[in-house]
């Protein structure tokens, strides 16, 4: 019974850290409460920069590869290699070879964010009905118009599935960015000597809520960008997500 109460009080302490600031363990600095907003801003800035850059790189490349129908090996093996290389190793590699700092950590996150976007975009473009593309060509659309007016809109749900995976990964991974000198929400978790146990627990709660919130927002966005014509025939929706179920349309995560 006492152990139950002990962990409840630890959680209460952690939650209090989120809402009210206190003096740090090392003294002199106010941590927690409104200070977390600064960390949150840095966290979102780092994640945002990384995701935007990787979209700018991966989406056009995959659209083009998908359009000309080449580079299947590249598009699929990028995902496999990306999964095999651990996040911590990539960030450590960047720190050891390029040094700490916002740019280097953002670049490391870009490398982590590219594979899901690249693979999902490529698969989505390849799965656009070839007959629809042929019809568009027959109507006299140029290659650029086919990509912009046919392949891109029809692949949009798949592209957003990839972006959503990447965003959630990046937001989660930005937690270890303080190792590279970027003070994100992971700082209280990694430098717990400064913030104390309550700070570590409080920041863990915030990071968890942030990740789930991001997932929910992007799941909504993904639904919003689905062209109405595709929603109507959502009976054969499973092709859009590589591991979704056939027959029924079920959100794989909230």
């Amino acid at each position: 019974m006492t152990t139950t109460l002990a962990f409840l009080s630890e959680f209460a302490d952690g939650i209090e850290f989120i809402f009210s600031s206190r003096e740090s363990n090392t003294g002199g600095v106010q941590v927690g409460g409104s200070q977390l907003l600064d960390l949150l801003w840095e966290h979102l800035k780092l994640s945002g920069v990384a995701v935007v850059i990787s979209c700018l790189v991966a989406v056009p490349l995959a659209l083009w590869l998908g359009h000309i129908g080449r580079g299947e090996l590249l598009a699929t093996s990028v995902a496999n290699v990306g999964r095999a290389v651990p996040t911590l190793a990539v960030i450590a590699f960047f720190i050891a070879y390029l040094g700490v700092g916002f740019t280097n950590v953002a670049l490391a996150l870009v490398l982590l964010a590219i594979p899901p976007i690249l693979t999902n975009t490529y698969v989505a473009v390849r799965q656009v009905d070839r007959e629809v593309v042929d019809a568009a060509r027959g109507m006299g659309l140029s290659a650029v118009q086919v990509v912009r007016k046919v392949e891109l809109p029809m692949a949009l749900p798949g592209i957003f599935a990839g972006i959503r995976t990447s965003v959630v990964n990046v937001v989660a991974t930005a937690t270890i960015a303080p190792l590279g000198g970027v003070i994100t929400l992971g700082d209280p978790i990694i430098n717990s000597s400064v913030y104390g146990d309550a700070g570590r627990l409080g920041a863990s709660i915030v990071v968890a809520v942030l990740a789930v919130g991001t997932e929910l927002v992007f799941a909504g966005l993904q639904r919003a960008v689905t062209p109405r014509g595709l929603k109507l025939q959502s009976g054969d929706a499973p092709r859009r997500r590589p591991f979704a179920f056939p027959k029924r349309r079920i959100q794989t995560s909230p």
């Binding site: 190793a89 720190i95 789930v212 959100q251």
Partner: protein, 233 residues
């Protein structure tokens, strides 16, 4: 006073190695001399990964069989495992600490929770992709539901199921690099202990990648053994 030749050579080599370490270069000599310090973390890493995937497979497989019979469970199970999958591992390690303390148990719970969604989803896809005609044929020769599941549906779903295990294994190798935050060791602790030293980072990261590739190959070989009919083609 002249130094005997062999000793001088040894000294020169060591000084070279030291200067390489001091300059923070990539030092093959240092790696060869210090390879043994990666032994224990590597074994811890293997243990964490294999145990997490094995436990995760047992749970997810059971859930999938349950959901296969009772279809309404698919949505809730997918949503619940989806939330577990979304939570950042670092946060989960510390959210669990007041309950389970520091150590391997905490790390394993977190790692297992990540494998659930991947394996569950793939077992369900595998079972759903079994052609209706095949199932009808099975029923036609008089198989009960249970026999149909174990003799027809599951064998045919093996490729999808093992694809899930492969993804889960490689993902877990990556996540286990953070397990040292939960006090469970692993290669991440070794990388983190000297994160600015290039040789250390390359060896630690390289071992992770090698482990991921090795596990992938092992599961692929298992798949070939389990699905002899696919080889014949």
């Amino acid at each position: 006073m002249p130094i005997p030749a062999p000793l001088a050579q040894v000294q020169i080599r060591r000084r070279d190695a030291d200067s390489c370490v001091a300059d923070n270069g990539f030092c093959p000599d240092w790696i060869v001399d210090n390879l043994d310090r990666y032994g224990t973390p590597f074994l811890q890493h293997v243990y964490l990964t294999v145990a997490a995937v094995a436990i995760g497979f047992a749970i997810a497989f059971g859930l999938a069989l349950l959901a296969h019979r009772r279809r309404w469970l698919v949505g809730p199970i997918t949503a619940a495992t989806g939330i577990l999958y979304t939570l950042p591992s670092l946060a989960v390690f510390f959210l669990l600490q007041p309950l389970t303390g520091r150590g391997t148990l905490t790390a394993l719970i977190a790692l297992v929770s990540y494998t659930l969604l991947i394996i569950f989803r793939n077992v369900m896809t595998g079972l759903d992709n079994v052609p209706t005609e095949t199932k009808d044929a099975g029923r036609g020769v008089g198989l009960t539901d249970r026999q149909l599941l174990w003799r027809v549906e599951l064998p045919l779903a093996v490729p999808e199921i093992l694809a899930g295990v492969r993804i889960a294994a490689t993902t877990t190798v990556g996540l286990a690099t953070l397990a040292f935050f939960a006090g469970a060791g692993g290669l991440g602790g070794q990388i983190f202990s000297d994160i600015n030293f290039k040789s250390n980072v390359v060896v630690g990261g390289g071992l992770c990648v090698a482990l991921a590739v090795a596990l992938d190959v092992i599961v692929l070989s298992a798949q070939r053994l389990l699905t002899p009919w696919q080889r014949a083609r």
